[in-house]
Amino acid sequence: MARMTMIESIRSAMHVAMDRDEKVVVFGEDVGYFGGVFRCTQGLQQTFGKNRCFDAPINESGIVGAAIGMAAYGLRPCVEIQFADYVYPAYDQIVSEAARLRYRSNGDFTAPITIRMPTGGGIFGGQTHSQSPEALFTHVSGLKVVVPSNPRDAKGLLIAAIEDDDPVIFLEPKRLYNGPFDGHHDKPVTPWSKHELGEVDEGHFTVPLGKAVTRREGSQVTILAYGTMVHVAEAAVAETGIDGEIVDLRTLLPLDLDAIVASVRKTGRCVVVHEATLTSGYGAELAALVQEHCFYSLEAPVQRVAGWDTPYPHAQEWDYFPGPRRVAEALTTVMEDV
């Protein structure tokens, strides 16, 4: 066991995966010699050589397209898109190619690739360093989508993603890289070294894709969250005193519906939280599933807390970000309704 930030645990995951399987290769913009702009791949080139970890030209479509070709050959590429906001040039390769290769070739060819990308706001990155595009991927048949909320899960999930035989979109909430940010931007963030989930096994382990975890048991309301919003939800629960049960989804696709249903049937209320924009966001899918499966247990309409339906602004970052206050409001509302 060692204390790790989320950057270190992600790095450790790739290190372990590359060490165990020489078919794992890592590439992307600035990931080679420098080790990535967030330093997630630092040291991999030195350890495994330029054949297995290298810089890519700035062409996201090329990065994913080449990864698909390598995967078709039999390698297991884990590529980095520098920011999720820059994945769009690769969208065609992801949606039309990686996602459908298994289906259209009837398993003759497959694309076991992992596409990592930092996601989410909270760093004053403006509209091109803050987006949360998970719903653009969960909407596509053939992709798996993962969003870790802490170093331990990030490592186990990333190893599972690399070892998975289908394409996985691995979204890393960049505001969590160095600590469990709970939305209180005016307070100092505790580092991961002071957090239980910053303690990570240095060796090989996996966190299975498709399994949610209950971060906090509660009786009054279920909060469905992932990534940064898990910590924001914790803050909101602490501040309202409402006994919320926080379910960290970890994997959006495949989704752990059983965990969701069990929790909502118990509490009878549900709040869905994400940082991405509201309209057609992943929260809509969650709310619909809860309605379908838990209708007769619900005592109040499902509430959604999300980013406003605008581009991510720079100056008004904290008015945009769905922080603890907005989650608390939703908790209060869902408790008022009978």
Partner: protein, 414 residues
């Protein structure tokens, strides 16, 4: 398929590496740099097949002694050269101030163009009002030499109550239609085909305006770069396609984007677009080449690719420390020198400028920048003082606010 026993030895992957990494002693003494004045200047309507070599050389005007020599010299008169020097000094002083402001926590982010000032400053002089640039984040020189108010640039950087973009954009992502400066994206390469489209629109409309696209060496790898070149080539769009080759793309050296092609300029040839390669640290050469390419566009002779050879002296941005991936001394030994020093020497040689005048002007321009900064800061910085309204966050997503956004704004209580 056949089995050919002659080709069974194992393959291996090529991954290009820069010549020098931290710890190495950078040395460019053997890098061939053509002497100033030695590259010919074709007529703008000459058959591009006849000057293909201009994509592989470096057009230079200022020699080591600070004299303007050769066929590309003589286009910049004394008054313009003086203006050019002052523009570049202003850009440098502005960058230094704003870099400091970021370090002091007055804003979130900054990007300087240290060492690359000549390119945007001289190019701007080759355009006419009404022409349109599609710049990257490193062409602040276009705005400054074009007379855009410094205070407004700072207001944007501070995201304050006077920010012309209402705090919506990351610092330095300016926009000014009036100054021929298209709104900067942040997604690399996207604006290159847009420049071509703007130029095509001018042609469709029978107008006389031209456009300029801007891209960095690293970003030429993007598919959009190639999309721009094919459209420009097919429709002979009145556009100048600028490539600023400052050797680095964050930590990635230019060889990763360039691959096996001789130069970035030469990429134009694959699309049948004439290409020139110019010393980007030579104000006089940049202007001469820019003027040539703009004239070619204006005379409906089609697009030109121009590669500016320069060096990114500073970090990529305030989030970057280049000492992690390149030798610290590399910029000092970079063979094309400093654009401000070189133009200064030229003007001193002509008796139009002096060391004293230079020192004096540097102080003047720094005072001007400082005064502008004071004025801007009266209207707030990112975390203090006047801010754009929160209500505004919901404006401008659409021309008219749809009901769902109106509801969200209400919910936000603003």
């Amino acid at each position: 398929m056949t089995t050919d026993p002659a080709h069974t030895s194992p393959l291996s992957l090529t991954v290009p590496e820069p010549e020098f990494r931290p710890g190495d002693k950078p040395d460019y003494s053997t890098t061939p740099i053509p002497r100033a004045g030695t590259v010919r200047r074709p007529e703008v309507d000459e058959d591009p097949e006849q000057f293909r070599e201009l994509a592989y050389t470096i057009i230079r005007v200022l020699n080591r002694k600070g004299e303007a020599v050769g066929p590309w010299a003589g286009l910049v008169d004394d008054e313009m050269a003086l203006t050019g020097l002052k523009d570049m000094m202003k850009v440098r002083a502005f960058d230094a101030r704003m870099l400091m402001a970021q370090r002091q926590g007055k804003t979130s982010f900054y990007m300087q163009c240290l060492g690359e000032e000549a390119i945007a400053c001289a190019f701007e002089k080759a355009l006419r009002p009404g022409d349109m640039n599609f710049p990257t984040y490193r062409q602040q020189g276009l705005l400054i030499s074009g007379g855009y108010p410094i205070v407004d640039m700072m207001n944007q950087i501070y995201s304050n109550e006077r920010d012309p973009l209402n705090g919506r954009q990351l610092p330095i992502m300016y926009s000014s239609k009036e100054h021929g400066f298209f709104s900067i994206s942040g997604n690399l390469g996207t604006q290159y085909p847009q420049a071509v489209g703007w130029a095509m629109a001018s042609a469709i409309s029978g107008d006389t305006k031209v456009a300029a696209g801007w891209i960095g060496d690293g970003s030429t790898a993007e598919s959009d770069f190639h999309a721009a070149l094919v459209f420009a080539s097919t429709y002979k769009a009145p556009v100048v396609l600028n490539i600023v080759n400052n050797q680095w793309a964050i930590s990635t050296f230019q060889g990763i984007a360039k691959g096996g092609s001789g130069t970035f300029a030469a990429r134009g040839h694959g699309f049948g677009i004439p290409a020139l390669r110019v010393d980007g640290n030579d104000y006089l050469a940049v202007y001469a080449v820019a003027k040539w390419a703009v004239e070619r566009a204006r005379r409906n002779l089609g697009p030109t690719v121009v590669e500016y050879v320069t060096y990114r002296v500073g970090g990529h941005s305030t989030s970057d420390d280049p000492a992690a991936y390149r030798p610290k001394e590399e910029s000092d030994v970079w063979p094309l020198g400093d654009p401000i020093e070189r133009l200064k020497n030229y003007l001193v040689g002509r008796g139009l400028w002096s060391e004293d005048r230079h020192t004096q002007y540097k102080a003047e321009v720094e005072a001007e920048i400082l005064a502008a900064q004071k004025e801007a800061e009266e209207h707030g910085t990112l975390h203090a003082g006047g801010k754009p309204s929160v209500r505004d966050m919901f404006e401008g997503v659409y021309k008219e606010m749809p009901p769902h956004l109106r509801r969200q704004r209400q919910r936000a209580g603003v």
